[in-house]
């Protein structure tokens, strides 16, 4: 561990994952740089204090999983389930992210500057996710709350079985999933979107986006909806 006044370096070439994660989890505050991540899984997960962490390179699965309060930047790509079940704080991926980014997140902001794959925002429960590029299929599946903002295109079956989450897409949507429909963009939505784009540092015009959400027709079982089941 190299500590300067401003920053602590944690080098995965010298420390093992447990040592790095423990240092990050136990710190009450401070700035950290993690070097040589080399695709390590479960890195910087379970953080619970307002620390600031920069990971220099690519991460494996579940990077910054269950994050609370911390601000984590991955300067590279992230594997499956980045910021899964995040509670609060900010997680930023400067490259691309794999499947299930931000899955089941309860709060906080996840920013993916590049593209992300299938199931981004699956079962999201209050997290906000902003993606600079495109997203894969089945994103926001059963999404319950929070916003998914996509500056590029969305893959097939977007928002399948969505509950109360809101989706904003600037590009093309390959197809919408069951019970997901395009909805009117009102002023409150444009304001919400502008705020999220600004927080994420994305230069995009809110009026170029369309909004999608639940038609709420599958909320209670109804035999007339048989074709949708």
């Amino acid at each position: 561990m190299t500590t300067t006044l401003a920053n602590t370096e944690l080098d995965l070439a010298k420390l093992d994952r447990r040592q790095v994660n423990r240092a990050l989890q136990e710190a009450a505050k401070g700035d950290f740089t993690v070097t040589n991540p080399g695709g390590t899984h479960a890195l910087a997960c379970g953080l619970m204090h307002p620390v600031s962490v920069t990971i220099k390179g690519h991460c494996g699965y579940y990077a910054a999983g269950m994050n609370k309060e911390a601000s984590v930047t991955i300067e590279g790509n992230a594997g499956t389930g980045v910021a899964e079940n995040m509670m609060s704080g900010v997680v930023r991926v400067t490259g691309d992210a794999s499947q299930s980014a931000g899955a089941t997140g309860h709060g906080g902001l996840l920013v993916i500057e590049g593209n992300t794959s299938a199931r981004c925002g699956i079962s999201m429960k209050g997290i906000d996710i902003v993606v600079g590029g495109n997203i894969g299929h089945m994103c926001a599946f059963m999404a319950q709350a929070g916003c998914l903002v996509v500056c590029g295109d969305a893959g097939a079956d977007l928002g399948d079985s969505i509950y109360e989450a809101r989706i904003y897409v600037r590009g093309r949507v390959a197809s919408l999933g069951a019970d997901c429909i395009e909805k009117e963009m009102r002023d409150e939505h444009r304001a919400e979107l502008a705020d999220l784009l600004e927080q994420a540092g994305m230069d995009a015009d809110p009026s170029a986006f369309k909004r999608y959400g639940s038609a709420r027709e599958l909320y209670n079982f109804n035999i007339d909806n048989l074709d949708a089941y």
Partner: protein, 441 residues
């Protein structure tokens, strides 16, 4: 023409294939267009622990004196990788049942009863309630596909973590909690609109196979400092492979739930036609552990239709380390009590058959979110009843273990068993009574 009008007639005969119950279901389906949803486990006669007997002591086996010689019952769960394994006084645990399907009072009562006997209780789909955490000395936190109410603080408050891949009542199916039970509190804990029919996912959202699950287990350990035992719970579908893959993924404990296992609400067709009986599942799970040289190193918890100390003794003799009970615990709290017969009649059912737990109208105040009904269950008294019942099961278990010459219940072994039916002999892999024949061997 001969007159046969006075001739004797054969009695009217109802078909076995189309019995009254089947006919009533066809009529119900025709009238409503909806499949039948219910709680509980498989209701049909299946090969079960009743089809096994314990042999007892004889000239070649030395019995222990009842009430005098000690027969230990404790069990350690999770010492493969966890630095803080659970040390339970008895090998009978309370299975995961969600707050949502059960009232907060019922969850509290389960915690009280389990804690009084030094055993664990388990959360469920819907998260951890303070009532339950407060009253449970050993609390296992379920990690389910829905991740309702899932948060790292509760994860750290738990004494163990159970990754739920499946349930015996519905291997391959997700949870279901219908609108009537999604009250403000339940909805809040699950981040759902009040009154929706909630279908929890059947697959985990952030992994797709055993190799991914291995990484997920690492993440959970990293978040909890490698302290907590990690269980993997599977419904009895392919128990040999599911157990082996759980071991490979790094589980400390494998929970195998057979098709008799209860559920809060599932389609009847699912409950009755998917999965294999508990008896068959135990044997396959033990075989996987033995093949990997992991038997007793990764503990096996068995559930699905456990009712008394004899079931426990037989499960342990087959190689389980502990059992879990769901339905039986609810009955001990007061579920399906004949004293409430008049109210069951009003619901169109009868005590012992009541299984419309998803409707939330439980007169016993257990499987409900209606505040008036829930008030009927006194968590302290109900907790006492559960503790008594667990004590009886434990005494029965010890009685049977001593009769087989065991100073600790964990020493029960397959050699102490014989089967009463060919099916049970084949499934459990023990000889048919009076023979040395194990079908298939």
């Amino acid at each position: 023409m001969a007159d046969y009008s006075d001739a004797p007639r054969t009695l009217p005969k109802k078909p076995w294939t189309f019995d009254d119950h089947t006919l009533s279901e066809i009529r119900r389906a025709a009238a409503t267009g909806i499949y039948d949803i219910r709680g509980g486990g498989s209701k049909r006669r299946l090969p079960h622990f009743d089809d096994l007997v314990l042999l007892g002591a004889s000239i070649s086996r030395y019995a222990l004196e009842g009430y005098r010689e000690k027969c230990g019952t404790d069990v350690i769960l999770g010492d493969r990788f966890a630095s803080k394994p659970l040390h339970l006084k008895i090998p009978i645990t309370i299975a995961g049942m969600s707050f949502g399907s059960l009232s907060a009072n019922a969850k509290e009562a389960l915690g009280r009863g389990a804690s009084a006997m030094g055993t664990s209780t388990t959360t469920g789909d819907g998260g951890m309630t303070p009532e339950e955490r407060g009253q449970s000395r050993h609390l296992v936190y379920q990690y389910l596909p829905s991740r309702y109410g899932m948060n790292p603080d509760d994860l750290r408050k738990a004494d163990a973590i159970e990754i739920v891949v499946g349930q015996g009542a519905k291997p391959g199916g997700g949870g279901m909690l219908l609108g009537q039970k999604i009250t403000d509190r339940v909805a809040g804990m699950r981040t759902l609109p009040v009154g929706v029919d909630q279908r929890s996912a059947c697959r985990h959202p952030d992994w797709t196979g055993p190799d991914d699950m291995e990484i997920k287990i690492q993440e959970l350990r990293e978040i909890t400092n490698w302290e907590k035992p990690i269980y993997v719970k599977v419904g009895a579908a392919r128990p040999y492979y599911d157990t082996a893959l759980s071991v490979k993924a790094g589980a400390d404990v494998v929970v195998v739930d057979g098709m008799q296992g209860g559920t809060a609400a599932t389609q009847d067709v699912f409950i009755e036609h998917v999965g294999i009986p508990t008896l068959a599942a135990v044997r396959e799970a033990v075989r996987a552990l033995t093949d990997l040289d992991m038997h007793r190193k990764v503990q096996l918890v068995v559930s699905g239709g456990i009712r008394n100390g004899a079931d426990v003794a037989k499960a342990l003799a087959m190689g389980a380390d502990a059992v879990a009970i769901g339905t039986a615990a609810l009955v001990a709290l007061g579920d399906n009590d004949p004293a409430l017969e008049a109210e069951y009649q009003k619901l169109g059912t009868t005590a012992g058959a009541y299984d419309d737990w998803h409707e939330g109208r439980d007169p016993a105040g257990i499987s409900t979110q209606d505040p008036e009904l829930a008030k009927r269950l006194d968590p302290v008294k109900a907790g006492h009843r559960l503790a008594n019942y667990l004590a009886v099961m434990t005494l029965e278990l010890q009685t049977l273990a001593r009769a087989n010459g065991k100073s600790h219940v964990r020493n029960l072994e397959p050699e102490d068993l014989a089967a009463l039916t060919v099916e049970a002999a084949a499934m459990a892999g023990v000889p048919l009574a009076g023979t040395s024949w194990i079908p298939g061997q």
